[in-house]
């Protein structure tokens, strides 16, 4: 059995899109375990199991995994899926190939986000037995150096560290469509899963932010340049969010129109059902 864990927060707009894609691309028996904090409870009927929960995303995913592992057999598979992520091809051949090849976990790796090295919960598959045995958890904590030289952490950091300490291998799924529309959003990983990814400005976006002007050590000019830097950054963020919102709505419109045209527009091409590249 495959157990899909997904938590939709505040907006139901991806629930039906995701459910349809799962029906289209999963050939194995599966159960969806979801949570819908701040969403009309009527949407609960889209899930096989609905779990009441709140808190940050990593915590909700950890909790879903606890509830699933309570019932699942060791060999059952556990699939984490971001609310705005869904398969665009049958993921199971890639998953099986990775797990049969000695990896204990397969996950998206968003290296396009300033070099992120960790498994990302927008798409991750492992066995219930592995999740239990290693005591995995999606929280942040363990740090790394991003491509712009800063020490950072993010969800999935502690999964990466735990696997490293246990000497276990994972298979990263990298982005397979071009990032010409946006450095991070609208991503297809391993040709099997789409992650919309709009919402927050991430490290990948901030690489394009204006560099602060050098602040002179002068009583009037210093604070003035500092204020100017703050204003420039706020202006850049406002424009970046506006652009993100506009692009996001455009792509959602393509997806909602149905068919594979939207994938081709994103440079991923249409992947026929039941096939993986």
């Amino acid at each position: 059995m495959l157990h899909v864990a997904t938590s939709h927060l505040a907006s139901p707009r991806w629930i039906d899109i995701q459910a349809k894609a799962l029906r289209e691309h999963l050939d194995v028996p599966y159960t969806t375990w979801g949570s819908i904090p701040l969403i009309d409870p009527a949407y609960g009927d889209r899930f096989d199991r609905l779990i009441g929960q709140k808190g940050p995303e990593y915590a909700r995913l950890n909790h879903l995994a606890v509830e699933i592992c309570r019932e699942a057999a060791d060999e059952d598979l556990l699939m984490f899926l971001a609310p705005d992520a869904f398969p665009v091809a049958d993921p199971m051949p890639s998953v099986r190939a990775a797990l049969d090849g000695g990896a204990v976990l397969v996950a998206a790796r968003r290296s396009e986000n300033a070099g992120d090295p960790q498994p990302h919960p927008c798409f991750c598959v492992t066995s219930a037995g592995t999740w239990r045995r290693l005591g995995l958890d999606w929280s942040d904590g363990f740090p790394w150096t991003s491509s712009d030289g800063r020490r950072v952490t993010d969800v999935g950091a502690n999964v990466m560290r735990r696997l490293e300490l246990a000497g276990e291998r994972w298979t990263p799924l990298s982005r397979t469509n071009p990032a010409e529309r946006d450095p991070l959003m609208f991503a297809v990983y391993g040709d099997i899963v789409y992650h919309h990814g709009a919402g927050e400005l991430c490290r990948a976006h901030r690489l394009g932010a204006p560099r602060p002007l050098p602040v002179p050590r002068l009583p009037v000019a210093g604070p003035a340049v500092q204020r100017l830097n703050t204003e420039r950054m706020l202006m850049w963020e406002r424009l970046a969010y506006r652009r993100m919102g506009r692009l996001s709505e455009q792509v959602i419109g393509w997806i909602e129109a149905g068919g594979d045209g939207w994938l081709q527009r994103l440079g991923a091409g249409g992947v026929p059902r039941g096939e993986s590249r």
């Binding site: 709140k54 990593y58 606890v66």
Partner: protein, 263 residues
């Protein structure tokens, strides 16, 4: 060996105080593993091991426990302690007695609108139990909060895991005789002090709102009422901060008069 896991954030102000009280009230061999996000690394000298980490409080504690469990033996003890918490009485016998009763002993902040979960401001268990439980300080599972909404907080997933495994835990409840604040300046089980307004206290806790002092507009209402509520929150926050500073100064000055005032 007793491993103490503690995460200090942005301010070094509690580090030396905590270290002093740990030395005073722990008799068994112990090591302090800490993280110092946003703090001058020179303060690392107060720790046996400094673990570099960033991010959420629950994530940091999970990560610290992971690093400790990599080295520790099953029978070693693991103690979580908030940066602004420290023992005020000898812990060795109390821990032995607590863990004779149940595999985990922790503060329960029942005074915070009856929070039911173990709180990481003070929690002790064995490394074996933490590994077996796959302990996790994340929030997630819900309970009924003070204003009719379901709420969650750090420790709720640990509570759920204990429940699933059928394990009981020893709850250390607030034991102050005097309460200058409904939540802060807390003594639990006569053993541990938790300042509570230590690092990330910019938001008021449910306990402060539940005292009936907050304008009802905090739960919605007209724009004018909302402005009044925001002003109340700001004033309350300032008042708490000033009170916290006064209390901190007394603790930092040494002596026990501050404690005598609470217990």
């Amino acid at each position: 060996m007793l491993y103490v896991a503690t995460a200090h954030y942005r301010s070094p102000r509690w580090i030396a105080i905590q270290a002093r009280y740990l030395r005073r009230h722990i008799g068994v061999p112990f090591q302090v593993w800490g993280s110092l996000e946003g703090i001058d690394p020179a303060h690392g000298e107060h720790f046996d091991r400094v673990v570099e980490q960033l991010g959420s409080h629950a994530g940091k504690l999970n990560h610290l426990a992971m690093e400790i469990c990599q080295e520790a033996d099953e029978q070693d003890l693991l103690m979580f302690l908030d940066g602004d918490a420290f023992p005020i009485a000898d812990l060795d016998e109390a821990i032995r007695e607590g863990l004779r009763q149940a595999p985990l002993m922790a503060v329960r902040r029942a005074e915070n609108v009856d929070s039911p979960q173990p709180h990481p401001c003070f929690c002790v268990t064995s490394v074996g139990t933490w590994r077996g439980l796959r302990g996790d300080w994340s929030a997630g599972p819900l309970w009924p909060g003070g204003q009719g909404h379901e709420v969650t907080d750090v420790g709720s997933l640990l509570m759920r895991k204990l429940e699933i495994e059928g394990l009981s835990w020893v709850q250390l409840l607030r034991s102050n005789r005097n309460n200058p604040d409904p939540l802060y300046y807390a003594v639990y089980g006569g053993l541990v002090y938790h300042h509570g307004a230590g690092f990330r206290s910019e938001n008021l806790a449910a306990a402060h709102r539940a005292r009936g002092l907050a304008p009802s507009a905090l739960r919605g209402g007209e724009p004018r009422a909302q402005r009044r509520a925001a002003a109340w929150e700001e004033a309350k926050r300032r008042e708490l901060l000033e009170q916290s500073e006064r209390f901190y100064e007394r603790i930092a000055a040494g002596g026990e008069d501050w404690l005598a005032e609470l217990i």
